[in-house]
Structure formats: C-alpha cells, structure tokens
Amino acid sequence: MDYAILLQILDSTIRLAVPLLLACLAGLYSERSGIFDIGLEGKMLMAAMCTGAVAAMTGSVWVGLLAGIAGSVLFAVIHGVASITFRGNQLISGVALNFVASGVTVLVAQSLFQQGGRTPPLSGDARFNPITLPFADALSGVPILGPFYADVVSGHGALVYIAFLAVPATWWVLYRTRFGLRLRAVGENPASVDTAGISVVRLRYAAVVITGLLCGLAGAYMAAGLQAGFGKEMTAGRGYIALAALIFAKWRPWYALMATLLFGFFQALALRPDVIRNTIGFDVPVPALDALPYILTVIVLAGFVGRAIPPRAGGEPYVKER
C-alpha cells in the first residue's frame, strides 16, 4: 500500500469516525449519569432528517443544524420523561424511540418533499463545506507530514473539528468541573448526591439534554457533511456502533476517541476491499469487517481484555426516600 492510498483511507477514517465519536460522547454523558441510552440511533436519525429538511428549505446548513439539534433534543427529553420522571424501563424506552424515529423521519420527509422519504440533495451553503486549515497548501510540499496535514487533517467540515474538540472538552467537564463530579457521582450512587442536597432529577435531565445535543451534531453531520441529504435509515446502525465504542472505551472520553477512530478505520477499510487484497494478499469478506466492532466489543464485555464496568446505578430509576 503506498502513501497516497494510506492517506485516502485515513481521510475517510476521520469522516466515518466523526458521527461515531459524537454519538459515543453523547452516550457517555447519559450513561455516566445513570441513564442507559440505546436510542442514540433514533436521535441521530431524527437530527439527520431535521437537518436535511430545514437545510434544503432555508439553504443554510447552520439553520439546519439548529433544527437537527432541536429534533434530537426532543427525543432525548421524551427519553428523560419516560426514564427519569416516570421511572420507566430505560432500555425499552430506547428501543421504542428508535422505532418511532425510524418511521416518523420517513413520514415527515415524504410529506414535506414527496421524494420517496428522502430530503432533496443539498449543495453549496446547505452543506458543511470543507475548511482549509492555515498553511495547508504551503506545507503540502514537506515530505510525509505535509501531505498528511493537507489531506487528512485539513479540509473537513466544521463539525469534524468540533467533534475532536469535544473530546478534551468532555474530559475537562467530567473530571475538572463540579458538574462533572456530580454527574459521575449520580451515575454511581444517586442517593449520596441526593443526601448532599443536589437534585438527582435535574442532573440527569441535564445529562440527557447534552446527549440529545451531541446526537444532534452527529445526525446533522450525517445529513449535511458525510452525505448530501437525508435518506431512509441512513444512520445504518451507527448509533449501536457508537454504543459498542462507548463500552469498548469503558465510558471514558479519550478512549472513546481511540475506539471510534478504530471503528471508523474498519468502516473505511470495508469501502476499499481492493486495498486489503493488495496489502495482505487475500480477501477479507466485507461482512467480517462490518461485524468486527461488535465482535471486539463482546470480547471486551466478556472481560478478556480488562473489565468493562458500567456506571453502577445505570438503568436503575432513582426513587427518593420519603
């Protein structure tokens, strides 16, 4: 494999890893606060549809992004109402909202545009246009690092850089702020947080809304960055891969970056079977690459490579003592 092809694959690794990374960080906030969320998929889909539709109607990707976040946060709040206020089963609520999102996105897109449940193709300002980082052209002559900077690091849409900045930001919020400490505590032992006079309900709602916001970014990137418009079931299981990455990362932000880059790399490889054949000399079936993130996650879950211990209060509704 020569350097140019490697750069191409790394470039698509980043593109494919970004929605996973955003959704993974989204899940991190919710699960760290003790609310399981298997509805990442549905929220991303909702955001993708809202972004695709509003960006197509207004011609502005930023208005679309806001609509996407709104759609995703709406679903996050429903999940919050079901699992925090009414203390329902968080897993079932997630499954249900994925169903609703899968159907309702197509219904709305079809009634708005009559294009078989898709939104019209986006172009120009209705998409996230590539940003050329400073000196990318000037440095592209530098051997090895120059093309890497120009082709892999530079030239992505704004959300890609936001996603990568969200990793240190999440680390900082989680480990260096009062909110982060309380968030982690409420996912481990809500009763102690309650005893300290802090509202468990408010903290968990805050976490769930942040989850909705980040899923909104992930979905908006799907519809207006990775692709140009919304299509039925376009997230194609990414919400579940993000969930797998979250477990793989053991609910920690920097590891989430590593895990989603790894899973993004598998997805990038799956698009280039020719490269695999030329590099290792035999064909790896594409389904095997598709299944690899899930298999790795099961291995991690089984505790063969370190133990993945979820937040202790995860999935348990908190009942305040009276």
């Binding site: 499954v95 609703v100 159907g103 197509v106 299944a291 879950l301």
Partner: protein
C-alpha cells in the same frame, strides 16, 4: 401512588396505553396532512375485513407469537433478550440447511427436523450472550444487540459466498424442494371452506399455539419454571433457595433463543421457501412489544401477537392503498412499545387518580 386492582392492572393499563399510542399516531397522521379515519378504516378492512385479510394477519401473528414467547421466557428470569432478531435469522439458517440437505418426500417428515434445527440454531445464537451474562457478568442487553449485528453479517456472508447457487444474482439460498412446502390454511380440509384464496398463514400457526401452551406449562407447572420465576423475582432469594443462577440464566436464554429460532419455520419454510437476507424483518423486535403488551403471559402474548399481526398487515395495506407511507406502522409499533413498556407508570398514575377516592370510602 395508589395500587390498582388486579383487573385494572391487567386489562385497563394495556388498553389505555394502546389508546394513547393510537391518539399520538392519529396526531402524527393529521400532522402530515392525512386522514386518521381513512387510515384506521384501511387498516381494519385490510387486516380483519375478510378471510383473505385474516390469512395475512394470522401469518404475521404466528411469527410474533414465537418471538413474543421468546422475550417472555427470558423476562421471567429478569433477562432482557433483545437478540430475537439475530436468533430468528440464525434459526432460519438451520431451517434452510435442513430443507436443502435432503430431497424431502413430504412436509410431515421435513417439519419436525426443520423445527429441531431452527430451535438449535436459535438457541446456539443465544448461548454465547447467556454464558457471558452468567459467568462473566456482561450485560445481556448489549451482548444480544451485538449478536444481532454479528448474526446479520454472518448470514450475508454465507448467502453471498457459500449458499447462493451459481448463476443467481440476489443473495439467497436455492429454493427448497417441493416436499418441504408447508400447507397453508387454504390447503387444509374444512379451513379451506373459510380461506378460499391462497393465504400465507400455514400450519406453523398450530405449532405456535402449542408453543404458547408449552411455555405456560413450563413456566407455571414445572420445577424449572418455578426456578426461572424465582430467580427473576429475586436473585439473592433464589440463590438462598439453592437455585443455580448459572443454570437458570443458561436454560432461560436457550429456551428463549430456541423459540425465536422456531419462528423461521413460519417465514422461511412456510412462506418464502428459501432463506433471504434479513429474513426476520423486525419480528424479533416486535416480540418485545408483544411480550410487554401481553404482560408476559402466553395468553396475553397470543392476543397481543394477533393485535400486532393486524397492525403489521393493516400497515402494509395503508402503504398500498393510501398516500400514507408504510413506515406509519413502525411509528405505531414504537409508540405502543413506548406506552406499554416505558410509560406504564404514567398510565398507572393517571388511573390511580380514578381509583383513589373509592378506596378512601372503603377505609
């Protein structure tokens, strides 16, 4: 919160949940500029308006009974099996391998062997998550989700690279021999008087009914069922009573996987006559809704499966005859799951208001 009387909990709560899901669905239909009344009419006539329509409704209901029972058995052991989808597809692989292995002379010979194969393959796909839960404490919800995707990838690989006959374009196995074709309700004596047109509902329906009865028998009339339920109610109490958590987890999940795998005699053997990609078509997930709606009792599962059969078939009719997309049925299913499974406390709180005064008078 007021405790509801038993009848209200068993009958009123599901009914009101369903009504709420219906109201929200109607609002969705209105919001996209269509008529909910028209949708309801199309749905009802298309699913229960004629013997022909019933033939489709019962066909879907048969699949949902199996997956609903699968979720039920696991639920009683406090295990949430979201892996019905993968287990049903793997069961389909078992059924396909049996059907293709021999030139079966008659369906009565092929059916028992196919059932055993479907059940074993389904159970095998549930066995790994069950083992990881029982021995390593890996959360079964996550592992079964992962196994759905691993299973789907495995089936695609096998269909494209191994099982697809030479010269065929679409990823599917060869057609099964004619001797494996299960008689449909319109082929059976007496029933053919009712079902005068060819319908997909087939003899698997009777297998599903027997399965409902067997699940009831196992859960409420055997020592094993008692152990599963005791373990599901309270793990420490069950361990104190000498019940092995490992054994209960494994057996409950194996039965659950086997039931999900058995579903494929309905769709793979009875209807399509070959194994296709994504053969289960979401029935594994609908099983969750069916079990929730049916309050984890075989009779409830039977009734809920028919209801979801109506929704599924009626939804298809809406997609065909109105300008509302077929995806409406996914929304309705999701809403039913949401209200029966996650917002059930809300429904109980609302009902509690109506039951409270009466109780105070009594006191």
């Amino acid at each position: 919160m007021t405790r509801l009387p038993r009848w209200a909990d068993l009958v009123l709560v599901p009914f009101i949940s369903l009504a709420l899901a219906g109201i929200i669905s109607a609002i969705v239909i209105l919001a996209i500029g269509q008529s909910p009344w028209e949708a309801l009419r199309t749905m009802v006539t298309g699913s229960v308006g004629s013997a022909y329509a019933w033939g489709y409704t019962l066909y879907y209901a048969t699949s949902f009974m199996f997956t609903g029972l699968a979720v039920t058995v696991a639920f009683h052991g406090s295990l949430f099996n979201i892996g019905g989808e993968g287990q049903a597809q793997l069961g389909g692989l078992g059924v396909a391998l049996v059907c293709l292995a021999l030139p079966w002379p008659h369906w009565t010979l092929a059916l028992p062997v196919a059932m055993v194969a479907g059940a074993i393959f389904g159970a095998a796909w549930a066995a790994v998550p069950a083992y990881l839960q029982a021995r390593r404490g890996s959360h079964i919800v996550i592992t079964t989700i992962m196994f759905n995707y691993i299973g789907a990838a495995l089936i695609i690989y096998l269909l494209v690279n191994v099982l697809k006959p030479a010269g065929q374009m679409d990823p599917a196995t060869a057609r099964f021999p004619a001797g494996t074709a299960l008689p449909t309700l319109s082929d059976l004596p007496l029933l053919s008087l009712i079902f005068d047109k060819k319908v997909p509902a087939n003899v698997t329906l009777f297998v599903a009914l027997i399965a409902c009865w067997l699940v009831w028998l196992i859960l409420w009339r055997t020592r094993l069922g008692y152990e599963i339920r005791a373990f599901g109610k309270s793990e420490p109490a069950a361990i104190y009573a000498g019940i092995s958590p490992f054994k209960v987890t494994m057996i409950a999940m194996l039965i659950s996987g086997a039931l999900a795998g058995l579903m494929s005699i309905n769709n793979v053997m009875g209807e399509s006559g070959r194994l296709l990609q994504n053969s289960s078509e979401g029935a594994g997930f609908i099983g969750i809704a069916v079990a929730l709606m049916g309050r984890n009792h075989p009779i409830g599962v039977f009734l809920a499966a028919i209801l979801f059969g109506m929704l599924y078939q009626g939804g298809a009719e809406i997609g065909l005859w109105t300008s509302i997309p077929i995806e409406l049925r996914t929304v309705v299913q999701g809403l039913v799951i949401l209200f029966t499974g996650a917002l059930d406390q809300m429904v109980r709180m609302i009902l509690g208001i109506f039951f409270r005064p009466r109780r105070m008078e009594a006191a």
